[in-house]
């Protein structure tokens, strides 16, 4: 390895180490930290994040990126080091444009905003949170301006989560999706109450839910030598290095579907993390391509596998064995229909596959309008409610079940939501490609064989880490640019059958 590249990798390794430490402390904060540790922990996290930022944006890193170019010139355009320099330069140029004072101030503002949001949600009063959101929107506009010129003021925000994606592309995709998804939901609604999911709302003791979830996760291929599961208020996946990729879950003893599908969901994320090659550790390549691609992996295992009839042919017997008191009299088909019931609801995280994207579109449209200045923060609750009525035929009874339900805006995460819907689309588009490559995949799943699927995902996605532009790789792998069509075909096929449309 060339001298400059080696030096650069040393610094990137140090930055990665500091960020891994941050991740461990963040994980601990969500899982085990006693309340008394909060203030001290905030200081430590702030120090770690300042040190890694300072180290990364130093002039030296910029000089090494340039100086190392000649050392990797002999590699092809897809060579690890060529891509490493490209990805590092992109991140470096972005992070350099943001002044340290802005970072500190934004961290302070969002830390307060997040606390206030929790209170506002608890009291279901948007007015408590309103001024904080005004500040956040203002600061996010400032942030966008560090990256001027842009097509949309939303673009620089979106780019942090979905590199290279523009608001106009998201809009185009969502515009194509929205009417057809609304139409599908209306067709389902017109059929009346043909699916009953009451069976999911019985008492399901937590320890047996834990057992089933982890058994399924391990059958999928989640390696507990390089991971573990803990409990947290909100399920998440976190990577410290490719040898330590952890998931969390939460339990509702009176609702089976919560922990069950969130465990399969997080397992999907974790399989991605465990599939990234160890040789990328301590570099920016040891990461997902983007949030949408990460979400495609969680959705694949949660929905395309976990809510499929094939999966339950393999696993329903085990579930009945664990919960005979609830399920011994329920046949596979009734259970399959119950977990696939479509029903417009107020809360995004509880939404079914058919309605989920509408929750996202609503958020995207509102945050875009906030950023572009066509919607004022005080008018947000009203805009939320009227759009809920328009898309899902429901009006939230209060702000807690409406505009205050999600944490994202309170930590400044404007631009994050679209990646959830894009993840669904990526998953469906990949799935068509996978089915062409593995025609008997449903039969493999019926036999609880997931090795073929995981191998395909590893070879086509995971093994690349963050080497490529996300949409470039999706196009390379599926042969087409990202499109809503596979997702719509999937929804229509699945729900057409369940609801006899």
């Amino acid at each position: 390895m060339g001298e400059k590249l080696a030096k650069l990798k040393d610094i990137l390794g140090e930055v990665a180490d500091l960020r891994a430490a941050e991740s461990v402390l963040g994980w601990d904060q969500q899982t085990y930290m006693p309340p008394g540790g909060a203030d001290g922990r905030a200081m430590v996290l702030s120090t770690l994040s300042r040190l890694s930022h300072e180290r990364f944006v130093s002039d030296q890193v910029g000089e090494l990126i340039e100086a190392a170019q000649s050392e990797v010139a002999a590699q092809g355009p897809d060579g690890d080091d060529v891509r490493l320099l490209r990805v590092t330069r992109r991140l470096y140029e972005k992070e350099r444009k943001v002044p340290a004072e802005y970072v500190a101030e934004f961290s302070r503002i969002t830390s307060l905003a997040n606390q206030t949001w929790q209170q506002a949600r608890a009291e279901s009063k948007f007015s408590i949170f309103q001024e904080h959101l005004v500040q956040i929107v203002k600061m996010r506009r400032q942030y966008a301006d560090f990256f001027a010129p842009y097509d949309s003021v939303y673009d620089p925000l979106l780019d942090d989560f979905e590199p290279g994606m523009k608001a106009s592309q998201v809009k185009q995709i969502f515009d194509a999706l929205r009417p057809r998804q609304v139409e599908l939901i209306q067709a389902i609604a017109s059929k009346g109450p043909v699916v009953d999911d009451a069976i999911l709302y019985k008492h399901y003791p937590e320890d047996r839910q834990w057992t089933f979830g982890l058994e399924a996760a391990q059958r999928f291929g989640y390696d507990l030598q390089r991971g573990r599961q803990d409990k947290s208020a909100h399920p998440f996946t976190t990577d410290f290095n490719t040898g330590d990729v952890r998931i969390t879950t939460r339990f509702d003893a009176d609702y089976l579907a919560d922990a069950l599908f969130s465990t399969l969901h997080e397992t999907g994320h974790a399989l991605y993390g465990q599939g990234i090659p160890a040789r990328f550790d301590r570099t920016p390549l040891a990461a997902a391509l983007s949030l949408a691609v990460h979400e495609s992996q969680s959705r694949t295992w949660e929905n395309l596998v976990g809510r499929s009839r094939a999966f339950w042919k393999a696993f329903y017997g085990r579930l009945q064995e664990l919960f005979p008191e609830n399920l011994s009299q329920v046949d596979l088909e009734s259970f399959y229909r119950a977990i696939n019931k479509v029903s417009p609801s107020l809360i995004r995280v509880n939404a079914d596959e058919a309605t989920y994207n509408l929750h996202i579109m609503l958020r995207f449209e509102l945050e875009l309008a906030l950023m572009e200045g066509t919607l004022a923060v005080p008018d947000l609750p009203q805009a939320w409610n009227s759009r809920m009525q328009e898309y899902l035929g429901l009006t939230p009874p209060n702000d807690a079940k409406g505009v205050l339900q999600d944490i994202h805006w309170s930590f400044g995460g404007i631009g994050y939501f679209p990646t959830y819907a894009l993840g669904n689309l990526v998953a469906a588009q990949l799935w068509e490609t996978i089915l062409a490559a593995i025609p008997d995949l449903p039969q493999q799943i019926e036999r609880a064989e997931f090795g073929g699927l995981l191998h395909w995902l590893r070879e086509n996605l995971h093994k690349h880490g963050a080497k490529f532009e996300p949409m470039e790789l999706i196009e390379r792998v599926t042969g087409a640019a990202l499109s809503p069509e596979p997702y719509l075909r999937y929804l229509k096929g699945k729900y057409g059958e369940i609801y006899r449309l």
Copy 2:
């Protein structure tokens, strides 16, 4: 606050944050980390420790310590900031004397030695570990030489754990203690098998052991809003800040005394950590005075309280309630005698109060001889075994139960062992002072009232953090220099009664 002092505190805060991060990562490594995370974790820990070291030993810190002196001149000699500068200078001068290359090499050597020791212990073969210990002894001599001149080559090592203490002082104390402790044990042995502890070796389900231990810990005053308990292979206490002080324990379902007394022991450490004032957080004052003083706190709650008749008058009913199958037919007096059985044994961590210090003296004498060059590493197992015979009348059947039993030498911790025995002495000396201040303390303990004891410890010890020299404070509090007499009085009083000597 003066400008220089404020700047110094900023840097000390950053160093403390990095070390707190290290502690969290260390805790996670011992409790939850999956095996696959080990390599990456080692890199992160090494980066954190290098960064905190570099930051702390920078010229700037030295200059600020000197420059800040005039800013605190108005404070009395016991003022927080005066003491902070004194403690910081002491640590700074020590850490500056050790070259970074030595630190890195010692870290590498001991990391390998620790792995090899594990293997050597598993195979019970000292020869596997021997060459590593030779290297460690050699490097520890080099380390001592950074602090030359010294009275004993052992002094600089001891000073890392017990600031200000000299090998000659330890030797003097141990020489006074040894013959009288041996005499006591022989007197006990001559009484024959008058105490039976078979009742401790029944089946005690882990979850109920957990319940009892944590109940007692909380009654002692351990605050679970600022702490928690987890499981680990070796019990330990760790502080991230004064609001997050955690303990761990381990269980043997077929031996009651292991988790029970180790929980009380770690609780003692944790009460110390929780008693240090929050205003010391992020400075070197947010620490114990020394390891011996830390150990005095664990021994106080484990032994002086936890193995006392008064304690069990309050708690034995609860223990019987949790384990009626084993204890309902066992009276308090038999139980009290069982947990206080004196019996020479091979393993230090299982030793009773009367024999424990002899295990320590043996280690101290051997490591002193190794450092002074009067004992060669290859002769160590033989020296160990003959001294075991001399002090405890036992000869280990193999190295695993002899010279290889402890981890300390493998991580380079020569100079650590004496603090265990000194801790016992400090605890007994403090106890006499406490009993003079709170004459009805035994009656309070019988009523499960620990507030008076904890308050005394907080006011006389904990609240000072690391402000004072350890032996200076012990003398100030007890009115006398550290002496073996109170400990001998305690042992003779307690075991004289139990064994009717």
